[in-house]
């Protein structure tokens, strides 16, 4: 393919987007919805995964001590816990340290009441296990130590989150499959409209000996440009909405979300690549069908 010829084909492709602007706009709209929905599902999945990692990925179990246990007693209990087989190490977490973890999420005046004497939290010890397979046995031994009140079972939370994550992943996959099919269908229809409006030109091109590839290129470019625009708009919307949505979700369920700076670039790139691929695929589907049938006839003789 000669470069000048290619430039002409690119121009033709872009021109037909404008000629068919209503259908192009509809395609772009549908494709944006598809990309954003799939992107949202995928990003949710990534965030849940990261939350699981931060909770369940560690072998640390927080063991709460009885309310009246003093700091000194707590340190002794820590030493005792450390002697239990399968306990790798113990770290004392004072009630003051524990309440500071909530400093960010509480109102300042409430927080002020809770530090010092008003602190409702017990002293605690973070117990790190060597092997989580013996979790039940080890916890039973930990709980039998005098002064130990309870242990926070992180496994349960981790398991719930894992289940949620599996569900989200499965849903994401099906949403993706369904939406990609819808997008390809919509785009291939848009391209077919362009093709019918240009069937006269196509028949002249074929009569003077244009190859199928040459006839195809403007339509593939049209599809890819629709995909590119959709990908760019989706990326823009993601940039505007990600933090807002995540902060809203954080208010409902307390978790630490992955900041936009870490996912933004990859998500945008994925949007653009996916958009262009879907666009090209939609074009290939419709033009292939057309060229095999009507495209071979040189319009009524």
């Amino acid at each position: 393919m000669k470069i000048s010829g290619f430039g002409y084909l690119v121009k033709e492709g872009i021109r037909s987007i404008w000629t068919n602007r209503m259908m192009s706009l509809a395609s772009i709209g549908v494709l944006i919805s598809c990309l954003l929905l799939t992107g949202a599902a995928e990003l949710l999945s990534v965030n849940v995964s990261s939350a699981i990692e931060s909770i369940g990925g560690t072998n640390v179990t927080r063991v709460f001590l009885e309310q009246q246990i003093t700091d000194l007693e707590a340190v002794h209990i820590g030493d005792e816990l450390a002697r239990i087989p399968n306990v790798e190490k113990t770290v004392f977490v004072s009630k003051d340290e524990a309440i500071r973890d909530y400093q960010d999420t509480l109102r300042e005046d409430i927080f002020q009441q809770l530090i010092g004497e008003g602190n409702p939290l017990p002293n605690a010890i973070d117990v790190t296990m060597t092997d989580l397979a013996y979790y039940d046995d080890t916890i039973a031994q930990v709980l039998s130590v005098d002064g130990v009140e309870s242990a926070r079972d992180t496994r349960e939370i981790a398991m719930k989150l894992t289940n949620l994550n599996d569900l989200v992943s499965t849903l994401t996959l099906w949403i993706m499959v369904a939406l990609v099919l819808v997008s390809v269908f919509i785009i291939s229809n848009t391209i077919r409209m362009t093709m019918y409006s240009r069937r006269f030109e196509i028949s002249i091109m074929k009569s003077v000996g244009a190859t199928d590839t040459f006839v195809r290129i403007p339509f593939i470019i049209e599809g890819m440009v629709i995909g590119l625009v959709s990908g760019l708009v989706s990326s823009g919307l993601l940039f505007l909405l990600y933090d807002v949505v995540m902060k809203t979700m954080q208010n409902i369920v307390s978790f630490k979300f992955i900041p936009y700076s870490q996912v933004g670039l990859w998500a945008s790139l994925a949007f653009i690549v996916a958009g262009m691929l879907i666009g090209a695929l939609g074009s290939v589907v419709s033009i292939g069908r057309y060229l095999k049938k009507e495209g071979n006839e040189l319009l009524g003789w």
Binding site: G209, D212, L299
Partner: protein, 224 residues
């Protein structure tokens, strides 16, 4: 060069459009194909352009055997021929210049080649002053000359004209025929399908008559 050997074409509807037709047209000839409608002229053209494939027999056009040709080779065949249509087939929203350039672009010509070649061809058909006009602003005869320019622009070995004067007045028809004769003198094979016998008779050229799918007469021996 066109060679038909025992070519038959039966459509899926059961119509026998051509029945064991054999003929040879040499390079540089000027030939009229005549016959009443439904005689098989259109099928003859479609077979030459490989829009249709013969049911039996063999066809050789410009050195290519059409009955054994693959789909992707068809564009190369079509580049050896220029086609002129009865209804001109010009693109309304393009100027005369653009219509002719379009045929060059379709086969991947460079812009520089297009800029050089199109004005030359327009001059050849006598339309140098009409390059920026739209087809709707031209007379029938002028429109057909644009069609002819488009057919010529890729420098084909052969021009195939399907009823080229069917939609224009007799005076202009004569001019188009003169132009085709002129092109023929430069070595291009000319094949004209028509049913306008008056026009055919005023040019003393080879005439092949097709009737009911059979070549019934060929003036090859008596041509000028």
């Amino acid at each position: 060069m066109i060679e038909f050997r025992n070519v038959s074409k039966v459509y899926s509807t059961g119509t026998h459009a051509l029945n064991k037709a054999s003929l040879t047209i040499e390079k540089g000839e000027f030939v009229f194909i005549v016959g009443s409608s439904g005689a098989g002229k259109s099928t003859f053209l479609k077979l030459i352009m490989r829009e249709e494939i013969p049911t039996s027999g063999s066809i050789i056009v410009n050195g290519m055997q059409l009955d054994k040709m693959k789909r992707r080779q068809v564009p190369m065949l079509r580049r050896t021929m220029g086609i002129v249509f009865q209804d001109f087939r010009l693109i309304d929203k393009m100027t005369v210049y653009e219509n002719v350039a379009f045929a060059m672009r379709a086969v991947g010509a460079r812009s520089r080649a297009i800029k050089k070649r199109v004005p030359y061809i327009l001059e050849l058909v006598g339309l140098e002053g009409k390059a920026d006009n739209y087809p709707s602003e031209l007379s029938g005869g002028e429109q057909q000359r644009v069609g002819l320019a488009r057919a010529l622009v890729n420098n084909p070995q052969m021009i195939i004209a399907d009823e080229p004067t069917g939609n224009i007045d007799p005076e202009m028809s004569y001019e188009i025929m003169e132009l085709l004769s002129e092109i023929n003198k430069r070595g291009t094979t000319i094949l004209i399908v028509t049913h306008e016998l008056d026009l055919v008779h005023s040019f003393n050229r080879r005439v092949i008559t097709i009737d009911k799918g059979v070549v019934v007469s060929d003036t090859k021996d008596t041509q000028a």
